[in-house]
């Protein structure tokens, strides 16, 4: 049975590996400049779906469905990003008789619009960050803002990946922020509608991994800590979240399962929360797809989440249940083609030399090889270095050793940033929140 892998880069490679282990035949897709990429070589077949620009290739639903039908693929795995959370793409797959590896179009819609997702969470009895009910018309934003209180966040209802969000400190900044957020949201997502949330300063970003099967069972695989963020882009994630009370872990896991059950969730998904200093938790959004940071959960639970996605899509029951045991600690470091010495400026180019670390407790998910062109048309993530240790301290000492072993020539990467992070006492102690990076960037190098 063939699976169309409707993505590129490290996640396409990850899905191809899961297919192989399940004796499924992976079919890759590629844009014209991606023909030599690793995912094309690891798959059984590869189909060109268009030119470099994602809008004409990896976001081209018609071309992807046609590629699946032409090669006789029966399943379509969207990875993350691109069309992974497109209800219309999921619907186009099922209309063409293909199995979309993910939730139903209705479920994707219930959480895909971020303002609607807040209502879904409230209906399931889960606290949300104080803010507007649903989207707000431009004329009504000022009144809602007054009610919510400053500082606040303006967020795009169709947003994701930290884009289409503006912080507003005072009423004087509101008009300009509205225009900027709506413009960015319109450009990135084709939908400029906005909603308002109170800004929780010093909050932690913690998310829960859930998986559901077609028999209606939803189970969780514990939480991940994702507070190491720069401009709302995650850079480091870990499992479990350090220094949380048992009751908090249980409460957010229970809330995540309840939300997923309330919308008949099938497949892998993530429910994201903000936790304030008293560990009061608030739902922020749910992601109806595999998450970039899924490997940390895999390393501490032993569950292969991508294989689980494929098995569930084929109609099988979850392979695990109950309170899944946790072994050790895992941390993921996102290696992006960005220059941390120049404000994380993008660094596309050709990789001329490359060495990845190995040894105990090290996993590298990447599509990068010596000679690979890192193209400006796509995401800057080129590798995920994931470390495991029996304790968090062991994982962090392995992380330093592994990061020092990384050798990449031809592009700049975020490796120096990660080494600096490992010198920060708050990070090392696990006592950090989403303000960690602002503080780190203000401090002299």
């Amino acid at each position: 049975m063939k699976v169309l892998v409707a993505n590129r880069g490290e996640i396409a490679v990850r899905v191809i590996r899961a297919c192989r282990e399940l004796d499924l035949s992976p079919v890759a897709v590629y844009s014209e400049p991606d023909e030599e990429q690793l995912h094309c070589r690891l798959a059984d077949e590869a189909v060109c779906i268009g030119p470099a620009q994602a809008a004409a290739s990896y976001l081209n639903a018609d071309a992807l469905v046609a590629a699946a039908l032409e090669t006789g693929a029966e399943l379509v795995h969207p990875g993350y990003g691109f069309l992974a959370e497109s209800a219309s793409f999921a619907a186009a797959c099922s209309d063409a008789g293909l199995v979309f590896v993910g939730p139903s179009p209705e479920t994707i819609r219930a959480v895909g619009d971020k303002a609607a997702a807040r209502e879904t969470a409230r209906a399931a009895g889960i606290p949300t960050v104080p803010g507007s009910h649903g989207v707000v018309a431009p004329a009504g934003v000022a009144a809602v803002a007054e009610e919510v209180g400053y500082p606040l966040l303006l967020k795009a209802a169709g947003g994701g990946g930290g884009r289409g969000i503006r912080t507003v400190e005072t009423p004087a900044d509101l008009d300009a922020a509205c225009a900027a957020a709506a413009r960015e949201a319109g450009a990135a997502f084709g939908d400029g509608s906005l909603y308002v949330e109170k800004l929780l300063v010093g909050a932690r970003h913690v998310e829960v991994q859930v998986v559901g099967d077609r028999a209606g069972t939803v189970a969780h695989l514990h939480e991940r800590e994702c507070s190491v963020q720069r401009r709302r882009q995650k850079l480091v994630e870990e499992a479990r979240a350090p220094a949380l009370r048992h009751e908090t872990r249980d409460a957010i896991a229970g809330a995540a399962v309840r939300l997923a059950e309330s919308i008949g969730y099938v497949g892998a998904g993530t429910v994201e929360f903000l936790l304030d200093r008293d560990e009061r938790f608030y739902f922020i959004e749910a992601n109806a797809r595999i998450q970039v940071e899924h490997p940390v959960t895999e390393l501490v639970t032993g569950v292969d989440l991508v294989k689980e996605q494929l098995r569930v899509a084929l109609g099988e029951r979850l392979s695990f249940g109950g309170d899944v045991a946790i072994h050790g600690a895992a941390v993921e470091f996102r290696i992006n083609a960005e220059d941390p010495a120049r404000g994380f400026f993008p660094s596309p180019g050709t990789v001329t030399a490359l060495h990845w670390p190995g040894g105990p407790g090290i996993r590298v998910d990447t599509a990068l090889q010596a000679g690979t062109k890192v193209l400006p048309f796509y995401d800057s993530l080129v590798a995920k270095l994931v470390v495991w240790g029996r304790t968090r301290a062991e994982a962090l000492s392995r992380a330093r050793r592994a990061l020092e072993e990384v050798h990449v020539e031809g592009i700049e990467t975020t490796v120096p940033f990660h080494l600096r992070l490992l010198d920060d006492s708050r990070f090392v102690e696990g006592a950090y929140d989403t303000t960690l990076l602002e503080d780190l960037e203000r401090a002299p190098a």
């Binding site: 470099a52 620009q53 990946g161 884009r163 413009r183 450009a187 960005e338 993008p346 596309p348 400006p376």
Partner: protein, 85 residues
């Protein structure tokens, strides 16, 4: 390619070139518009981030050498300006 009296505007970054701030907006500048050195004439999208391309010279927009939405290389000429007093 530029003729005498023409100035090329280049992009230092590779990526996808856009002439408008968002799909529904008016172009930053059109042929015949006067521009100052600090005026934005387009955007380049690099790894999902957007960077402005400035005119770098005072002049009049002559013609664009790249269509909006086209991929560009680092150092590629994007537009031609005519010098003005």
């Amino acid at each position: 390619m530029t003729e005498p009296g023409e100035i090329a505007v280049t992009s230092q970054l590779p990526g996808t070139f856009y002439r408008r701030p968002s799909p529904d907006a008016e172009p930053f500048v059109s042929e015949g518009d006067p521009v100052e050195a600090t005026d934005t004439i387009g955007l380049v999208e690099v790894m999902k981030s957007f960077y402005e391309i400035q005119a770098e010279h005072r002049g009049i927009v002559g013609r664009f050498l790249v269509e909006s939405g086209d991929p560009i290389e680092a150092g590629q000429e994007i537009a031609v300006l005519w010098a003005r007093e």
